[in-house]
Amino acid sequence: MLALCSGDTVATPGKMEAGVQRGEIRRLQWGRDANRGATLRGRGPANLAGPAVRRTARARPVAAEAVAALDPAPASAEEETVALLQIAAEIEGALMVQYLFAAGSLLQGVSVEIDGFDHPILSDDWYDVMRTVAKQEMGHLITVQNLLLSLNVQPHVDRENMPLSSPLYPFPFSLQTARLSTLAKYVCAEAPHEVAAADRADYEDAVRQAGAVVGDIPRAGQIYERLFWLLQDSDEPQEPWPDLKNPFPDWPKWHVDARSIGFNQDRQATPDEWRGDDASAPADTGIYVLQVTDKASARLAVYTIGAQGEGPEADPGSTHFDKFLRLFRERRAVDAHAASPAFVRNQADDPKTGISGPATITDPKTLAWARLGNLRYQMLLVDIALAVTVGPTGTAPSVSATRSDFCQWAFREMLTSIKPLSAELCQMPLTAGASPTDARAGLPYELPDTNLPDTIADQIQYLRDHAASSVALRAEITASFNPTPKQTNILRAIGNIDTAIQQKLGVGS
């Protein structure tokens, strides 16, 4: 059964829950399969950095896998919807940082002309594409939070290490450079239900390339397909996805009750807050932040996210699948071209700050900066959660910070700390005593062993404590590691965020 937090009530399928008032957010903490992922979240199994591991191929689950796919099994369409949305949030969050890491591994300004391409192949183009897709995944993550809020469930921004045995998660979480097999994984994860004939051969090549490393990759899109199906009023197809096929036909044939959706409209993220777009924006460039008022708008939100990823009826070239397939083709050509320069720097996969292994950061300066990067990433996730939990005019309890503050801090983390930190860490050596040609590190995007806090009070304390840790770490870096002028500016920008947090939330331990 659901592992509910104390004081919460269980939703009765098809009925308004007794004891849960409109606007009161339930905390449904989905029970975790003990076999899911490694013990340290964000840290993949060590063997991912080594020889390829063959996984069992399961592209389409059969009835028996309904239990394995969602454990514990949901008792209602609503519960299944919530479970899938939480998984979707984890996948969006995980893909986003993996795309950012891969983009960061690219060398700037590299180009090569190869026969068969009517344009030069440019590393900067790949960088722009991957960062754009990552930003769009952020929009998806925020929209999924709105869907959860509309179902009267609290936001879910945590990032579980992708379990190896579920038919829902595309592949195990792993920060990898932008090499062919990595791009192949992304192609497979973003693949549509039916790949166009013109793309078929290259798609199958991507499947082979990815399969050699991680085995078969379930499409992330099928989660949205199943979500749309759950949000239909009946088994009959509905607009805007009239040709949708239920990806899991052997799963329960139930649908979300209309009375179960539409909650917390005043708390949902808005396109204005997140500098995002509504559903009318083009899929190529739009960063969708969609609000949910009822089942119809929920279906539109799910469809729009799905369309941007895999592309029912989107403009050719505009979907994530199209973009990654193009990069895959170009990468493959670059690898095959004898005179190609290096597109990717010598950078470690899955850099770690704590576990001893092939990619553990041992250079002291790099380690300090990597810890700072981890702090800021964790703070970003909590800022997002608070921004969509606190009401539009209310403040968080006992502090003067408002929803707008948390939203702005999230942007400052993305733009003025994580982005420049990532760029710096891609230049820093992984190991102590490394030569200039030895492997670089990269931002580890690590999460702590425990779950991120899920109450407002705990989240606020988390930010206080992290800001305090950041103050100390910045002082250590300044005192011990002789920051360059650029690094000094980064530290100062981060310091401005810490100051703002401490002014509004108080000083942590």
């Binding site: 900067d124 396109p271 190529d284 733009l415 710096e424 002028p485 650029k486 703002a500």
Partner: protein, 493 residues
């Protein structure tokens, strides 16, 4: 026939800069970067900084005399200068950003500001009276206002050797009162102010022995941030926005068929320019396209025309809006319904119209969130009395400070966050080629190592300008005049 005096440009554009005295006159002809006034002479500008400080861009205004017939048609007679008459200019600059009380439009990021300050006049920066100036080569007459009782210099008026008006804006100084207030938002920061502004420009003309005549068609001046890529234009400029507003008002009508030379080629060139400041990969091929093919109405060129038209209509910029007339022109061009006049001699354009166009063409009109020089209100046909000319009698929408009040406060915060190359890279570059001889290998982050709003407030003036230079037989755009005290780290190979 009656005499009508008009001031041109209808909307002039000045830009802030931190040099105490050096300035140049902004573009007055399409393709011109502007001129510097040196010992009575006018020379094309060659550098945007002096002693490491940014020169301000002055907006220069001139008066033209027209003859109006019985049905209202105007015939240009010529410019009226201080050689011909006594001209008394009057300007009323105002910055009321901090006193904004409403959200201008759905989706616009400006929000009511400083709501806890009851006396809104304390937030409005304005000289106590409009500033007046007359004569040739007049020394500066300043605009001095206050923000929460702190004095703020907002600009000055001067005149040139012919008595034409020169409007200079502030020195790009943004502060909070009291100092040290946080800068969390890209658009709305309470207790902060900057020193851009806008307001009406009018004049009286007194011919010898005659009574003073107030100009019949006054102008407007807006002061914006520096244009750090002055040779790169937005795909959609403020001229296009104002032109569309004039069409909406039925005051202008698009041509029946677009001219390739006058309408389409410039659009392609503007998009190509983004290669230097935004996305080199995306736009590089348009730097030297097959013009002959693109200018051909033949069906064999249709696919090429269609592909380029699509790219211009969807250039990958956020919130991009292309005016209807431009879309119509591009669709006609793609379909082969256009005048194939590649290489045709330039059509003679009267000087007043050149002034109007050059000023607004240097401003970005792609997208308004909120924008760089001005914002969504320029799309509103109701603010115009005539094409490109604001209506000062529309007091509800046109008043001193009406254009700048919905822009970000301070502008540097928005400038910082407009990274990514998808907002206004033609004014605020995302990338810059650091070495003109190494394209695209020298591509670098233009704003590095500035990472946050406060950093941009403190250091924007140290950033470089992206300007054209000749490399062999090509024109390339590379960074110049960046402060060496603002170094970028050398990337590891």
């Amino acid at each position: 026939m009656g005499t009508v005096y008009k001031i041109h440009p209808a909307i002039g554009v000045a830009r802030v800069g931190n040099h105490p005295s050096a300035f140049f006159v902004g573009p007055e002809r399409v393709g011109s970067p502007g001129v510097e006034l040196v010992a009575g002479d006018e020379k094309p500008i060659e550098s945007y900084k002096l002693d490491g400080q940014i020169k301000r861009q002055a907006a220069r205004f001139r008066i033209f005399r027209f003859l109006q017939d019985d049905v209202g048609n105007l015939q240009l007679v010529g410019e009226v200068t201080a050689d011909d008459a006594k001209i008394e200019w009057k300007v009323n600059l105002c910055n009321r950003k901090a006193a904004l009380n409403s959200t201008p439009a759905q989706g616009h990021p400006a929000r009511p500001r400083n709501q806890n300050i009851a006396d809104r006049n304390r937030l409005i920066i304005q000289n106590p009276t409009p500033v007046v100036i007359s004569g040739k080569d007049q020394a500066a007459k300043e605009f001095n206002g206050a923000f929460l009782e702190k004095p703020v210099y907002l600009g000055e008026l001067r005149t040139d050797a012919k008595g034409r008006l020169l409007v200079l804006g502030g020195r790009g100084k943004s502060e909070s009162v009291p100092p040290g207030a946080d800068l969390p938002s890209f658009a709305n920061n309470d207790l902060w102010h900057d020193d851009v502004a806008d307001g009406p420009v009018t004049a009286t003309v007194t011919l010898p022995g005659q009574e003073p005549v107030t100009v019949h068609h006054p102008s407007w001046v807006m002061v914006g941030p520096p244009d750090f890529a002055p040779g790169v234009h937005a795909i959609v400029t403020l001229y296009d926005v104002a032109y569309q507003a004039a069409c909406d008002k039925a005051a202008l009508q698009p041509e029946a068929k677009p001219s390739f030379q006058r309408h389409i080629k410039p659009l392609i060139e503007r998009a190509a320019g983004l290669a230097w400041v935004s996305n080199y990969a995306r736009w590089k091929d348009l730097l030297a396209p097959d013009w002959t093919k693109l200018a051909d109405t033949a069906g064999t060129s249709k696919q090429a025309r269609t592909d380029v038209a699509k790219r211009l209509m969807d250039p990958g910029l956020r919130d991009f809006v292309m005016p209807d007339f431009m879309e119509k022109y591009l669709n006609q061009w793609a379909a082969g319904d256009f005048v194939s006049d590649l290489g045709a001699a330039a059509v003679e354009v009267p000087v007043p119209d050149q002034l109007d166009r050059a000023a607004l063409d240097s401003c970005v009109g792609n997208n308004f969130f909120p924008g760089i020089e001005a914002s969504v209100n320029l799309r509103d046909k109701d603010i115009y009395a005539r094409p490109f000319r604001l209506d000062p009698t529309n007091l509800a929408k046109v008043y001193p400070g009406c254009l700048s009040e919905i822009m970000a406060v301070p502008w540097q915060a928005d400038f910082m966050d407009c990274a990514g190359g998808v907002w206004w890279p033609s004014q605020r570059p995302d990338i810059a080629m650091v070495a003109a001889a190494n394209i695209p290998g020298s591509k670098a982050d233009w704003a590095e190592p500035i990472f946050d709003h406060q950093g941009m407030v403190d250091q924007y003036q140290q950033l470089g300008f992206v300007i054209p230079s000749r490399q062999g037989d090509k024109i390339v755009y590379a960074e110049a005049e960046r402060d060496p005290q603002l170094p970028r780290d050398v990337p590891v190979a």
